[in-house]
């Protein structure tokens, strides 16, 4: 915006007042004023003399006066240009010198003309600098010496004492002017050096402040952000014009009210200045926090650091640094996640290599069978998704049971999670949608991938060579049932021994193999969970501490008889009856009917266990036995004696 000029200021400073606004140059402006003043005074005097000389017919002198007056007028105009200050200075100082010489020469009223000369050294030195100023001053002095000391040189007679005093005062004024000017110039230089180094320092700090990735700012006692904050602060807080905003309010959507309260207390502690810096850093409530922008809701992870800053006048500020560590935080999280995943993989691998390869292969084969069954179900258009879900549940449960027995805990856990999902779908009121099944498919793929990794391990192990003991099929089955009983007993805090007499090879080969294995596993687990009593209780009632489960097979004509017995408590029909009535599964009239209750035991969804875990309580067990038995045309008889034990007798036709 163009400033309105003051014509007087403009005139007296040759317009420089508006060109040189820097305070450090005010000195130069003063010299312009002096120069113009000199022109005004000297110029008008010269023109006055020219006029009076012309009037008395002294034409030669009038011309000299006029020329010199004109010179100052020219100087006045040159001063207004960009030309060097020295040129117009000469044009005014020299005529002024001549004027002074003239006054001295003429003496004037009561020798008052000589006083003008005393101003000359100052004018000359201020306007022309030390060298030219002193040369011209000396020149005037020499002229003054001639006028005052050489008789008849000037029309005025100077007494010697008077003349010597005038000349000495002139020398003194010149010397003082010189000293003054020199002091001033030295000081100017010193100031310039100081200014330069200060400016450099300021530039460095500004550059640092602007290029720093850290948001740096000051807050006053009311947590108001001060003006001189670093540029990065706007990036970090994704906002601008932060000056005057309250930092605490800015965090209102990132922190709870209580946390803000804590933060205020913390800031007070920092301002207190009596606490250890390290301690303050440790207890910083927002050392690392999730920042949510109050308006845009943009989220970031930020880290902060606060310290107190006391100005010379005693004002206290909080110096805060704040930086964006969203990326670092995300990476850290990812690292932790990967570490967890890796550890889980390691664990699962350990579990796998602890299983006898032959047994593991058997497990994989069964799992493959179940997965294929599931896929067949998925493909089967004749079945509704609701039905498919129920059957998937059974298949997964079968794999899970085996995984638990073999101690493949991580895989069992995955299957358990999957099972829970399926269960939610199964028990849901609404129909199963495409999206549900799609999610299930993805989860299934994940499970199959885990199984793939088992296959890889098995492959690697078998590549080691065949040092592994060749174990027979019957060994695998007995080993499996034994493991199942031990595992279940362990988690039920019971003690169980599993015994098997020689097993008919028919049991473990042929088309019944898988079904029989599943049936036996379920029954063994059932015996441990529901049949065998706690060791202490067994001791109390005079039984052996360790429960016994026995497996026998017998060939009877064209059928195979499989007997599984335990010496536990027998089936608790009273409990079943109670549960059945509570769940309205049976009318009260049938509550004492053992046959009805037994049937109920084998129906889907029935369970006497109150909580669900890997072993029991999902209401799958005995229903699965019934289903699998039906598939191979077998029958099951149950004999239970209260306090003595249970016997399951399975008959399978060998056709």
């Amino acid at each position: 915006m163009q400033e309105k000029m003051n014509p007087f200021l403009n005139f007296i400073t040759s317009g420089k007042y508006y060109e040189i606004r820097d305070e450090s140059n005010i000195d130069m402006v003063v010299r312009y004023i002096l120069q113009n003043f000199l022109i005004l005074l000297g110029g008008s005097l010269l023109f006055g003399f020219a006029f009076s000389n012309y009037k008395i017919g002294n034409n030669a002198e009038a011309i000299v006066d006029f020329v010199m007056g004109m010179t100052t007028v020219v100087a006045f105009f040159i001063l207004r240009t960009q030309a060097s200050f020295r040129i117009p200075s000469f044009m005014t100082v020299v005529p002024f010198g001549v004027l002074c010489a003239f006054f001295f020469y003429g003496g004037g009223t009561a020798l008052s003309g000589i006083f003008w000369s005393f101003t000359f050294p100052m004018m000359a030195v201020f306007l022309l600098g030390r060298l030219w100023g002193i040369i011209l001053s000396i020149a005037l002095w020499v002229f003054m010496c001639c006028s005052a000391l050489i008789p008849n040189f000037s029309p005025v007679h100077f007494e010697l004492a008077y003349a010597s005093r005038i000349l000495s005062v002139y020398v003194l004024i010149s010397a003082l002017t010189l000293v003054y000017e020199h002091t001033k110039i030295t000081k100017d230089r010193w100031v310039e050096v100081l200014t330069k180094s200060l400016k450099e320092e300021r530039d460095t700090i500004t550059a640092m402040k602007d290029n720093l990735r850290v948001g740096l700012f000051l807050m006053d006692r009311d947590f108001i952000i001060q003006g001189q904050y670093s540029k990065a602060l706007e990036d970090v807080l994704v906002d601008h014009e932060l000056e005057g905003k309250s930092f605490v309010e800015f965090l209102s959507s990132s922190l709870k009210e209580k946390e803000i309260e804590t933060l205020r207390d913390y800031f007070d502690m920092v301002l207190n200045q009596s606490y250890d810096a390290q301690m303050l850093e440790d207890i910083n409530p927002i050392h690392e926090f999730r920042f949510v922008h109050p308006v845009t809701r943009e989220e970031k992870t930020l880290t902060t650091l606060f310290s107190a800053l006391e100005r010379d006048n005693g004002e206290l500020f909080l110096l805060a640094s704040i930086s964006d560590i969203t990326r670092e935080a995300a990476l850290k999280e990812q690292l932790v996640e990967e570490e967890t995943k890796r550890r889980a993989e390691m664990e699962s691998m350990f579990e796998v290599i602890h299983v006898e390869p032959k047994v593991l292969l058997d497990f994989i084969e069964d799992a493959d069978y179940e997965f294929n069954t599931i896929n067949r179900l998925l493909k089967d258009r004749s079945k509704s998704s609701q039905e498919v879900v129920v059957e998937i549940y059974q298949s997964i449960h079968a794999i899970k049971s085996n995984a638990v027995i073999l101690g493949l805990q991580s895989f069992a856990q995955k299957l358990h999670v999957f099972e829970e999902r399926i269960k939610l779908l199964r028990d849901r009121e609404e129909d199963v949608q495409f999206e549900d099944i799609l999610q299930i498919t993805f989860a299934l793929e994940n499970l199959m991938k885990t199984e793939d990794s088992f296959k890889e391990i098995i492959e690697k192990i078998s590549n080691f060579g065949s040092e592994h003991e060749k174990v027979g099929e019957s060994f695998v089955l007995i080993e499996l049932l034994k493991k199942a009983s031990e595992k279940t007993a362990l988690s039920e805090n019971k003690m169980v021994r599993f015994e098997a007499s020689d097993i008919d090879p028919l049991l473990i080969s042929g088309k019944y193999r898988r079904n029989l294995k599943e049936i036996l596993l379920q029954l063994v687990r059932n015996s441990v969970v529901h049949g065998i009593e706690q060791p202490d209780y067994r001791m109390d009632i005079g039984k052996e501490k360790e429960g016994l489960i026995r497996l026998q097979t017998e060939k009877r004509g064209d059928s195979l008889l499989v007997l599984l017995s335990d010496n536990g408590s027998g089936i608790d029909f009273a409990q079943i009856s109670k549960n059945a009535i509570a769940n309205k599964l049976i009318p009260e009239s049938l509550s004492k009917n053992k046959k009805a209750l037994t049937n109920l035991l084998f129906s889907p969804g029935f369970s006497t266990a109150s909580k669900t875990d890997h072993n029991a309580g999902r209401g799958v067990g005995l229903h699965l036995v019934k289903e699998r038995l039906k598939e191979i045309g077998g029958t099951l008889k149950l004999k239970s004696e209260n306090g003595k034990g249970t016997l399951f007798a399975i008959t399978i036709p060998l056709s």
Binding site: N375, L378, I437, T441, E445, K449
Partner: protein, 156 residues
Amino acid sequence: MEKYIHPFIEVCENVFRDFIGAELTAERPYFIDKKDAHEWDISAVIGLTGEARGAVVISMKKALALKITDQLTETVHDDVDDEVLDAIGEIINIIAGNAKRGLEEMFRLVISLPTVVRGANHSISWPNDQTRIICIPFKIYNEETFSLLLAIEASH
């Protein structure tokens, strides 16, 4: 793999609705074995690479391919000719193009040009060894079906 598959299903439904005017019903998905020869007559294949690798295939019977082409070109075709191949190739191209737009925003992916395969009981050589192929059957025109086959896996 699900994050890559979802866009394809969505886009597939949209493309059939917008270009052919047919509503699709997605049926129960299942896995297919790569050794399986499948019962389709014509398949259009595109490959994916980049952050995820794999292939996406649309397979259908000849009758459906002809019907779709008739709808698209507003002419009548009796047998699988070049126009039919182009039409089916174009459909997967549009699907891939649309899916790509969605996917490329989230993942760095490159999608190849479509290849169309025909012949009774043809089989497709799938690129990934480990990845299982998910088959999503779509019901179209109430009675016919075609399959969207996907085998996609994040590359490491």
